[in-house]
Amino acid sequence: MKMKFRIFKNILKQGFQGMWRNRGMGLASISSISAVLVILGIVLIMILSINNVVLETKTKFDEIQIFLENELTEEQLNDIEKAAKDNEGVLSVMYQSKEQALEIMKEEWEDEAYLLEGLEPNPLPNSYIVQLKDIKYADNLVDKVKNIEGVEEVKYYKDIIEKLIIFANYVRFGGVVVIGILVFVSVFIISNTIKLTVTARKREVNIMKYVGATNGYIRGPFIIEGILFGLIGAALSILIVNYGYDYFFKAVSDKLYVLFTVYLVSPAALIKDITIIFTAIGVGIGALGSLVSLKRFLNV
């Protein structure tokens, strides 16, 4: 056990030495890993935000609002409610009077609510709000209800949501492709850097082999070197993405687009995931880069 530890310490030391000797090319590797991860971060934020939008719109819009004409009789109201309820996938049907609608609107507008003060008579219509299990049940219901007398308009957002989902899928796919290419490039750059260390230490490696060093002992330092490059690159990109996004987020929310930031992922929620993902990918790229170069160079 103690022997293993000593060997491990040696390997670690040599890994650090290799990194220091190669700091020129190392810088290139670190920047390439950082660049990949920063782009990954941006794509990730985009995907998460779009997911947010989709989710938000879905919950907001898996309901249908049936706007009613004014002055309907009790009977007409009942007919409409029945017609709405009598459908597949309907969770609930709720009446919303024009007064309630105005209250809700005032709440949503918060500071600007005073604008609504002078509205007399209340221009908002009475309505039924139908909660659906899923947006896909909407078409049926809308067809049935829209021609009933007393119904002024039926509002729902199926098209928007579908378009949004398609768009989100494009972004996801594009992101994955871009990241895949970039990961490949940085593995290549790392493996070139490690090749430099291997060549510089060729003599040493050769002697090691004859004295009976295990493959692990010979490869260890190079893999450690690659992992160190990966870790530094990851740390750098975590800082960049974290502070950069924080800055962007604040700038956007300051400039009145509060509505917009609701859909953005909050920077605080992001930091933990970003740290874990970036560290893992950085280390992975580093280790893989070393292994690729070692496979060709260290055939015993």
Partner: protein
């Protein structure tokens, strides 16, 4: 200790480097491998070091069949064999002491053991005074003695020397031979490939001559050339 039975090696490009080699080297023996360049001496050494696998026959080391072994086990087989090369192969950025200690660090020896053993080996090859020198401050003979010290510091039962005197003047070569003889006297089996006729002739050790991939002569207390032509 070392046994070749009907061993042959054909390289992938079709060159038949060795064929039908039968050798039995006992513990504590000192054996010269002689023969012209390209006869197969290097291949024989490569087979023992597991750089190459034989294509025919078997090889035993320490009563262990090493004809075919997993890559993972090769380092552990090599720890039984010290190697000395014609070109010394020292690390230029390490001192004499560090070059020798390096071989012990690799196998995870205890620092205390390293501090005890390295000076002992250095004094054995008469280099105690040069322990803190770097290789470029050493003469050719000193280079080779460092390389010998490194090869035996882990106490391997077998020492392979591939033309250890090839780059040295005759006087220095004899210095090296004295060191090797001393190591052999302490029980290490030595296998030495060489072209140095005078050394082989005056050492009076077992001589194995290889020509065109075959053992053409194997005699105790032999000379570089066979006795008929020697007269």
């Amino acid at each position: 200790m070392i046994k070749f039975t009907n061993t042959g090696k054909e390289y992938k490009n079709g060159v038949k480097a060795l064929s039908n080699i039968n050798l039995n080297i006992k513990k504590g023996e000192f054996v010269f491998i002689v023969g012209p360049s390209g006869a197969g001496k290097s291949t024989l050494i490569k087979l023992l070091l597991k750089e190459e696998d034989p294509t025919e026959g078997k090889i035993y080391l320490n009563d262990m069949d090493i004809t075919k072994v997993k890559n993972r086990r090769i380092p552990f087989i090599r720890r039984n064999i010290g190697v000395v090369f014609q070109d010394f192969r020292l690390l230029p950025n390490k001192t004499v002491y560090e070059n020798v200690a390096f071989a012990m660090e690799i196998i995870g020896a205890h620092p205390k053991e390293i501090r005890r053993r390295v000076p002992m080996i250095l004094s054995m090859v008469d280099l105690s005074k040069k322990a803190d020198c770097y290789p470029d401050q050493l003469s050719g003979g000193e280079h080779q003695r460092v390389s010998i010290a490194r090869s035996i510091v882990n106490n391997p039962p077998v020492l392979i020397a591939d033309e250890p005197t090839g780059n040295l003047d005759p006087e220095t070569a004899w210095e090296i031979m004295k060191v090797l003889r001393e190591i052999n006297r302490r029980g290490t089996t030595i296998l030495m490939a060489t072209h140095a006729k005078d050394i082989v002739d005056s050492m009076k050790k077992r001589v194995v001559a290889i020509e065109a991939g075959k053992v053409v002569r194997d005699e105790e207390k032999g000379g570089y050339e066979n006795e008929v032509s020697n007269i």
